[in-house]
């Protein structure tokens, strides 16, 4: 087939309309979410004292951090799905969860504490926290990558890493409702390690799957 023939064929297919990447990503996340939800309720579940915990601002802060991560990563993912896009001008969005968390740590420092800092940092659930966030985010990551394949990122590994952040943010939102460690120091340590692992998996998978 010579190039003129190919062009004629492409022009004949002009009527075909693809959905925007945001739509594909939303569908894929909606399909993946029940898998993670099922895993969460089968193995972990919401902590029993959740009604009391909601009155603790540090419990609520966890959701502010994880949702800020998920939402900013979704925005950056969609931006990066365009071939001419780079992180420039958009990357700062990802600082939102970091800022919220830093403010939380500062706030906690100023309050009288019953527990020493290291005890709060190490917590009681660090291992569960790591594995739970990691495992809960895998179905979401698979969905996110599938949806983002619809796009055309110029740096597939970077786009995959951001998809990892997005998945970790959503998975951590679930996990936060189970975890009884509410100290921002605990979140800053263990949630961050788990998120970094998921981002690394996302980068490796994205380098293969998001190439167009």
């Amino acid at each position: 087939m010579d190039t003129d023939q190919l062009i004629r064929t492409l022009a004949a297919d002009n009527a075909h309309r693809a959905r925007p990447v945001g739509f594909a990503l939303m569908l894929a996340l909606l399909a993946a979410a029940p898998v993670s939800l099922l895993m969460f309720f089968a193995e972990l579940g919401v902590r029993p004292d959740v009604m009391v915990a909601m009155r603790n601002p540090f419990f609520d802060l966890k959701f502010a951090v994880t949702l800020a991560l998920a939402i900013s990563a979704i925005a950056v993912s969609l931006h990066l799905s365009r071939p001419e896009a780079s992180l420039r001008g958009f990357g700062w969005l990802l600082l939102a969860p970091v800022g919220i968390l830093t403010a939380g740590i500062g706030g906690e420092m100023m309050m009288p504490q019953r527990l020493p800092m290291m005890t709060r940092l190490v917590g009681k659930n660090s291992w569960v926290c790591l594995t739970a966030i990691l495992l809960l985010s895998l179905p979401i990551l698979a969905g996110a990558l599938l949806g983002l394949r619809h796009g055309a990122p110029s740096r597939p590994a970077l786009a995959g890493a951001i998809a990892g952040l997005l998945s970790a943010g959503l998975a951590a939102t679930l996990y936060a409702s189970h975890c009884t460690d509410d100290s921002p120091l605990f979140v800053a340590t263990w949630y961050t390690i788990a998120t970094a692992l998921v981002a690394a998996i996302g980068a490796l998978a994205g380098a293969k799957l998001l190439k167009y």
Partner: protein
């Protein structure tokens, strides 16, 4: 350069709005620019320039299948060159050389001359043979025999809708096969 870019953007907007002939004209207009850049990239990597047509076709397929990522309010040329650059680097890498491709390679290019009579059938033509029969028949009818969708539907006693589906699936799997190799 500015005029050319505005013309391309206008054509692409019409194409997205459903004007197939504007789309045809746009693809025709960008091809010589893509060809010249592909040749220069190959030459600089020490590769035979007669492979440029494979790269051009690869870029055109990507442009077609990813055109929903173009923002209709943005200029078309930067989007096009980003895809072209990505595909050219990819092609050179697969041929075993890492090379830096400058975006200006595309922007400041004079149209290259058409290639000499294509001796080799090319990668797209080779992969075409591996498609399911129905997709291959439809693609060949439209590409080689320059039949319309309507004529193709009549020829194979298919509905026009089925021809459209086979055409799009054929182009999608063609692109997937090119990526695998």
């Amino acid at each position: 350069m500015r005029e050319r870019d505005d013309e391309w953007t206008g054509l692409m907007r019409s194409a997205i709005a459903g004007d197939s002939s504007a789309y045809h004209r746009l693809l025709k207009a960008v091809t010589p620019v893509l060809r010249a850049a592909a040749r220069r990239g190959l030459a600089r990597a020490g590769q035979p320039v007669d492979q440029s047509e494979d790269i051009v076709q690869d870029i055109l397929l990507a442009v077609h299948l990813k055109r929903h990522t173009w923002d209709v309010t943005a200029p078309f040329a930067p989007w096009l060159f980003a895809i072209a650059r990505n595909k050219l680097i990819d092609a050179l890498r697969r041929r075993g050389r890492r090379i830096f491709v400058d975006i200006d390679d595309f922007a400041e290019t004079l149209p290259g001359e058409a290639p000499a009579e294509t001796a080799s059938p090319g990668e797209v033509a080779a992969q075409l043979q591996t498609l399911p029969a129905r997709q291959r028949d439809v693609l060949q009818s439209i590409a080689v025999d320059s039949a319309s969708i309507k004529d193709t539907a009549a020829k194979f006693s298919m509905s026009e809708g089925a021809v459209r589906v086979a055409l799009h699936r054929g182009l999608t799997s063609l692109t997937a096969k090119l990526r695998e190799n």
